[in-house]
């Protein structure tokens, strides 16, 4: 039997079973929620508008640079700041992220182990994909 290494890697990356039963094959990308987002030059007024438009007013707002790359996070409490406040001054830089191809059960367990309520999901290049919450059910 040929051992096609490339094929095995692709198989593994896609989360297909390597032993035993099939189990839960879902990945983060299967349930990731959209994240409200604003550009780095936005104001708190813009962030409020983005949060309300997304319907996620209790979720952090992604602050994006060029090419939709995540560069900061604004906690929803930050929406209480005066409307003209520059988001850049209030945001927390370089928030924690996770990749969309990580297995869902592993990712949720990691969030719970770390006691985290959420994490941003980005591609390996930092482009925003969305948000994963620890109370998202498997």
């Amino acid at each position: 039997m040929h051992d096609l290494v490339g094929g095995r890697s692709a198989w593994t990356v896609l989360g297909l079973p390597t032993e035993g039963e099939v189990g839960d094959r879902r990945r983060i990308r299967d349930i990731v929620r959209p994240a409200a987002s604003v550009g780095i030059t936005a104001t708190i007024a813009d962030a409020r508008e983005a949060a309300q438009a997304s319907g996620h007013t209790h979720a952090p707002i992604a602050v994006l640079g060029e090419d939709n790359v995540l560069i900061g996070s604004l906690d929803p409490v930050g929406l209480r700041l005066p409307r003209k406040t520059a988001v850049e001054h209030a945001m927390v830089r370089a928030p924690g992220t996770i990749r969309p191809d990580v297995r869902l059960d592993e990712a949720l367990q990691q969030l719970r182990d770390d006691g985290l309520a959420y994490t941003f999901v980005t591609t390996a290049r930092g482009e925003i994909v969305g948000l994963l919450f620890s109370d998202d059910h498997v």
């Binding site: 990731v32 929620r33 959209p34 994240a35 409200a36 987002s37 604003v38 550009g39 409020r48 508008e49 983005a50 309300q52 438009a53 997304s54 319907g55 996620h56 007013t57 209790h58 979720a59 992604a62 994006l64 939709n68 996070s73 604004l74 906690d75 929803p76 409490v77 930050g78 929406l79 209480r80 700041l81 005066p82 406040t85 001054h89 209030a90 945001m91 927390v92 928030p95 924690g96 969030l111 719970r112 770390d114 006691g115 985290l116 309520a117 959420y118 482009e127 925003i128 994909v129 969305g130 620890s134």
Partner: protein, 344 residues
């Protein structure tokens, strides 16, 4: 996928929604019991209330960080006087430790009395303490995890005593035998837990009514919320030195709050004010401006407060370092409180 331009997906995820105009950021006044004598602290509480502040927090120390600071009054005595001197100001401890100095019975006794005097305006801040305030009792300085366990069990005792009825408790750290507090408020005061790392943030989420943080660390807020603290208050603290010039502001900060440059890992471990003085001198004054916002106007202070709010803190206590408290009163009334939507 990104939802940068909005989405028709509304709040159907159980996270709820907020009103269009969120409630404003709340600014608090920090009463530094290490720097001011008890009569001045009462006077400052009255000043803060008059300036438009709605909340204040007072430090609970047995000794000052440095001898230059020169004070460390008994917090419960001062709180009793503040209760009489103010009418609307909420006041809490920041923070009270249950290690050697304070048995939870004594804290519950004092806190219940102050809560009655303040008539719903009191909150109890608790933490794992500093060796500075515990070593005079001559006992072993326990590691952080042990002190966290002590605090956790202590909070359980506090809640039992606040709830009323006869309390019996025989635990690993604390005992109570047949005690019922005769003087206690009808509603127990909220217990806010000081948080410096993810473990204390997680514990605060599980057993606290809120957190008190000293750095704008969004991860701590998130761990707190993810551990049961969602929707509960997050209180932050900003040290400022407002003066006529930046040089004066830096000199004032260094003169009165030099221990701020001591690495956080050492803050809870050193046992004498002289140790803090030596460590501060070794580090030097170059970084004091990174730890204390040195300013001549509201701009840098607003930026520092905004960082806390952006990280999830809804209330930020402003500590004007040094004797000139009037500068903060004036700046707050003229600029800070109006800026954040609190009428002066």
């Amino acid at each position: 996928m990104s939802d940068r331009k909005g989405s028709d997906r509304k709040a159907s995820d159980g996270k709820g929604s907020e009103p269009r105009e969120p409630r404003p950021v709340r600014l608090g006044w920090w009463l530094s019991a290490e720097e001011h004598d008890p009569r001045a602290l009462v006077s400052h509480a009255r000043l803060a209330e008059g300036a438009g502040f709605t909340t204040a927090m007072i430090s609970d120390h047995l000794r000052p960080w440095t001898r230059r600071q020169g004070n460390a009054s008994h917090v419960w005595s001062v709180l009793g006087a503040i209760a009489e001197a103010t009418e609307t100001l909420q006041v809490g401890t920041g923070v009270t430790a249950m290690v050697s100095r304070n048995d939870p019975i004594n804290i519950a006794h004092a806190a219940a009395t102050v809560a009655v005097m303040l008539e719903g305006r009191f909150f109890l801040g608790v933490g794992t303490g500093e060796r500075l305030n515990e070593q005079p009792f001559g006992q072993r300085w326990a590691r952080t995890g042990e002190r966290r366990d002590q605090m956790e069990e202590g909070i359980e005792v506090l809640r039992s005593l606040f709830a009323g009825g006869n309390v019996n408790h025989r635990g690993r750290w604390w005992n109570v035998e047949n005690l019922s507090l005769a003087t206690r408020p009808s509603t127990p005061p909220p217990i806010y837990v000081a948080t410096a790392g993810p473990r204390s943030a997680a514990l605060a989420g599980q057993i606290g009514d809120g957190i008190i943080g000293v750095t704008p660390d969004q991860r701590l807020v998130d761990v707190f919320r993810g551990s049961g603290g969602a929707g509960k208050p997050c209180l932050g603290q900003v040290h400022v030195s407002i003066a006529a010039t930046i040089d004066e502001a830096r000199a004032n900060a260094w003169n009165w709050w030099s221990h701020a440059v001591v690495p956080p890992a050492l803050l809870s471990e050193m046992s004498k004010p002289e140790h803090f003085e030596a460590a501060s001198a070794a580090v030097g004054c170059d970084t004091i401006g990174d730890m204390v916002v040195c300013a001549t106007n509201a701009g840098p202070i607003v930026v520092a407060i905004d960082r806390f709010v952006g990280a999830g803190y809804g209330t930020v206590y402003v500590h004007q370092v040094g004797p000139d408290q009037q500068r903060l009163v004036d700046l707050a009334a003229a600029e800070l409180l109006p800026h954040y939507g609190t009428p002066a």
